[in-house]
């Protein structure tokens, strides 16, 4: 695959309200061609000469493997009934859970920083539902739904948010630090970009296991979820480089919801098309409509398949939107209500519901039953969390080290952790 670096694409003109109805849409969701095999058509082609347009096709860097796949699909339907219902249930769970979080926060049961995922469920369900249990997911502070999709029980996540002992991290992590060794959810990181090298490391471990430790069937894949703001951060580029250099089994999933708290993506990025950053490092860069779970799923299948086969990383930019503010403390004044309304009309859950009903994969009753079931699950989670005990005093000093002798030697010469009174007192070490 030749990358012709000789021609320089003109930088795209920056509009601050580029996705408003008056300006031509940069990524027109209704006319952009699906990812499989096609090259992207840039709507701003008026200012691009023919030769540059040829170069544009190189920039998309769609691999030949993807091109072949398009010819092989022989059914009209993109997923089976079971898959459809599974994905639907997952998205409903994400939405209901986050709505309940908002309620609980305003009632004072939850505290600190809480970042909700409403509107972005298609990305989480589209990707994570294709993973095995051994595959890893690394996320940011907006991680509740990633944890839920990966399989962490709603009870455990809700208790963790309430800060109770029965939470998935025993109340020690909180909203932004969801970890689950069992389900391979590797966090939960508060600093943007922090999770990306960790995810790259998890992919490195998978490759190391296969090649050095000779576990021949180790084809575990890692997904790194992060936002548009992160794509300007140094660690992101460092990891794109190393992942492509060493062909690590990782997929970099950009949840481009256009806003980093109150900073618009277009105001802060020299070239707002994030998928282009993939080919610059030698990996395919894909842009997909993140409000359509089926499209996301198709792209995810390709990317995960690529990674499993050892062909290396992929950068997937999902154009999505968060219906709520950045966090529950964000007044969310800078976003144009018209923009919010437009995306609300493209709610991924309603879109999937419509698809399932129209393609006769499910009927209203079944979907309603799922919604009811999820409502009960979430309420049960709240009850469970409410009734769970707060962590005991002695838990304060636990888990600082895997080897508790790390607390050192006490005045009597023996290891501090061997003194039974050690965790009973205050945190004085």
């Amino acid at each position: 695959m030749a990358f012709s670096g000789a021609k320089i694409i003109q930088p795209l003109p920056l509009h601050t309200t580029i996705r408003s109805p008056n300006n031509p849409l940069l990524f027109d969701p209704f006319t952009s061609s699906p990812f499989l095999g096609s090259t992207r058509t840039l709507r701003l082609s008026q200012s691009i000469s023919a030769s540059q347009r040829r170069c544009a096709s190189h920039i998309v860097a769609v691999s030949d493997v993807f091109k072949e796949k398009k010819l092989k699909s022989n059914t009209n339907l993109l997923l089976t009934k079971e898959e459809g219902l599974q994905v639907y249930e997952d998205m409903i769970l994400g939405r209901a859970f986050e709505d309940m979080c908002a309620q609980m926060y305003y009632r004072g049961k939850m505290f600190g920083f809480v970042h909700l995922y409403n509107g972005q469920e298609a990305v989480s369900s589209g990707f994570i539902k294709l993973l095995k249990k051994e595959d890893s997911v690394v996320s940011t502070y907006r991680d509740h739904v990633h944890a839920l999709s990966k399989g962490v029980p709603a009870r455990a996540v809700m208790s963790e948010l309430f800060g109770k002992k029965t939470g998935c991290c025993r109340g020690q992590g909180g909203s932004m630090h969801m970890f689950s060794a069992e389900h391979n959810v590797l966090g939960g990181f508060a600093f943007i970009g922090e999770g990306i090298p960790v995810a790259t490391g998890a992919a490195f471990a998978s490759k190391y296991r296969r090649e050095v430790l000779k576990e021949a069937d180790c084809d575990h894949v890692t997904l790194a979820f992060f936002g548009d703001g992160t794509c300007n951060n140094g660690q992101f580029f460092e990891c794109l480089n190393m992942a492509a250099l060493w062909k690590l089994p990782i997929i970099f999933v950009v949840e481009n919801n256009l806003w980093a708290i109150g900073m618009s993506h277009l105001r802060s990025t020299s070239d707002p098309e994030i998928w282009k950053k993939g080919p610059a490092f030698g990996m395919p860069g894909v842009h997909v409509d993140g409000m359509d779970v089926l499209k996301v799923r198709e792209v995810a299948k390709e990317a995960i398949g690529r990674a499993r086969r050892g062909e290396g990383p992929t950068l997937v930019e999902c154009e999505t939107y968060r219906f709520r503010g950045h966090s529950l403390a964000d007044p969310d004044e800078l976003r144009d209500p018209a923009e919010k309304a437009r995306y609300a009309a493209r709610d991924p859950i309603t879109a999937l519901k419509k698809y399932l009903i129209e393609s006769k994969l499910a009927n209203e009753a079944e979907l309603l039953a799922i919604e009811k079931k999820i409502e009960e699950v979430v309420e049960d989670a709240v009850e469970f969390a409410d009734e769970s005990p707060a962590p005991s005093r002695s838990q304060l000093l636990e888990n600082v080290f895997a080897d508790p002798r790390g607390f050192g030697i006490g005045p009597d010469g023996s290891y501090r952790c061997e003194d039974p009174k050690f965790t009973e007192g205050t945190a004085q070490v």
């Binding site: 025993r170 790259t200 490391g201 990891c239 480089n241 030697i409 501090r416």
Partner: protein, 428 residues
């Protein structure tokens, strides 16, 4: 459990060497330390030069002509058959700190296939300071990974792979560069076991040279002991001698928690004697235990890394002036061996802390606080803190010399603590 031999420069056994007078032809010299025996046969390495120096030193110490001593020592070498073999006899080896680190890495990588080394220039360049020499040839590029210049990236990759049970040894060319990766050392390595409530531990080692070298300027000379030493969830080790280097690095690699391993560039080339026990591939030193390098009863001097050598030399100078100093090699900044420090202060009643880092919020400040908290009644004098000057490191050689503790500074501080009147400031 571990041989408490002197960790100073190997050849200076001045006040400890007892040549058994009644056995002029005996083939071994017994060096009696305070609680262990140390058999000197013949140093296997170093050859002729070594002999010359050894005979000189022995001669100087005992007042014998170096000629006589030289012959005596040669006789040691030349009459092996006359040696009655004791069961603990072994050739005393010497080892540079560089070789000690290299051998420790080699043995741990051989023992556990999960251990791998990652960093800049660790592979084909054989290590920026040659610590990882030969490892690429032995273990291949998958286990000795050369990285691009991306500290944040590869530190994070190390952490991520440690999440899944691998045991990375991440090398920073110097710890000054670790500032680019400090987010991962602290936020994703140190805190992960706690945030995940014990589900995910991070058995990673971050190692590299720390502190000043010679004339490398302000951005390459900072000591990070205090910064990393204040973070819960990290273990911070500071080896001095080759035995420290071997034992602590092996312990660090086997440890299930993140360890910051602060070496010193100027110590890499220094040679120390090393016992057979320390050369054994299962040798490990406990983390969190300081070592008393030299026992004394008048004043306690705590130091780590290169400053241990300076403190020992200062102790000799003080000895001549009648002050019997106890020198503690901290070995571990976190967890700090408060028990040993306090026990020593309770014995001597005076304390001098020595470090190369910046004075404010430094390691010495913590030691002072811990002694005041636990042994205040035993202190006969205020604690004297010797640290680097409160300035970014200058380049000019004379200024740099003034910016870091020298042996005279330690001696002066010790005398101040013993109420011998000495001015505070150094005379230029």
């Amino acid at each position: 459990m571990y041989n408490c031999h002197r960790s100073d420069r190997s050849i200076d056994f001045s006040h400890q060497l007892l040549l058994p007078a009644s056995y002029p032809h005996s083939v071994f010299a017994i060096i009696v330390n305070h609680n262990s025996f140390f058999f000197l046969f013949y140093p296997v390495f170093q050859g002729e030069k070594m002999w010359g120096i050894l005979s000189q030193k022995l001669g100087a110490a005992r007042g014998l002509s170096s000629q006589v001593v030289g012959n005596y020592v040669l006789r040691l070498r030349l009459a092996p058959s006359a040696m009655p073999m004791r069961h603990y006899s072994s050739a005393t080896k010497e080892m540079t700190v560089r070789d000690a680190l290299n051998s420790a890495l080699d043995e741990e990588m051989a023992a556990d296939p999960n251990v791998f080394v990652m960093g800049e220039e660790v592979g084909e360049y054989q290590g920026a300071y040659k610590i990882t020499k030969g490892l690429l040839d032995k273990y291949g590029p998958e286990r000795v990974v050369d990285t691009p210049i991306t500290e944040a990236g590869f530190a994070g990759i190390g952490v991520g792979s440690a999440y899944h049970g691998l045991r990375p040894v991440i090398e920073f060319m110097t710890f000054n560069f670790s500032m680019q990766a400090i987010d991962h050392i602290i936020n994703s390595a140190a805190k992960s076991n706690y945030m995940s409530a014990g589900q995910i531990n991070v058995p990673i080692v971050f190692r590299g040279p720390n502190g000043p070298a010679a004339g490398v300027g302000a951005q390459h000379s900072q000591c990070y002991g205090a910064w990393y030493g204040s973070v819960p969830g990290l273990k911070v080790l500071v080896p001095y001698s080759s035995e420290d280097a071997r034992g602590l690095l092996k312990a660090a690699i086997r440890d299930p928690d993140p360890v910051v391993f602060l070496e010193n560039e100027l110590l890499y080339g220094e040679t120390f004697p090393i016992s057979a026990e320390a050369l054994d591939s299962s040798f490990c030193l406990p983390i969190g235990k300081a070592k008393i390098e030299r026992e004394g009863k008048d004043i306690t001097i705590t130091a780590f890394s290169k400053m241990v050598g300076y403190a020992l030399k200062a102790a000799e100078i003080l000895e001549k002036e009648g002050i019997n100093a106890e020198v503690i090699n901290l070995r571990s900044i976190r967890p700090l061996d408060r028990a040993t420090i306090n026990a020593s202060v309770r014995k001597t009643n005076r304390l001098v802390t020595v470090e190369e880092g910046f004075p404010q919020h430094g390691v010495g400040a913590e030691i002072c606080a811990t002694v005041v908290e636990d042994s205040f009644g035993y202190l006969d004098a205020p604690v004297e803190r010797i640290a680097g000057a409160d300035v970014p490191t200058p380049y000019a050689a004379n200024l740099e010399r003034m910016a870091f503790p020298q042996i005279e500074d330690i001696v002066r501080a010790a005398k101040r603590a013993c109420y011998r009147s000495v001015p505070m400031a150094a005379s230029a």
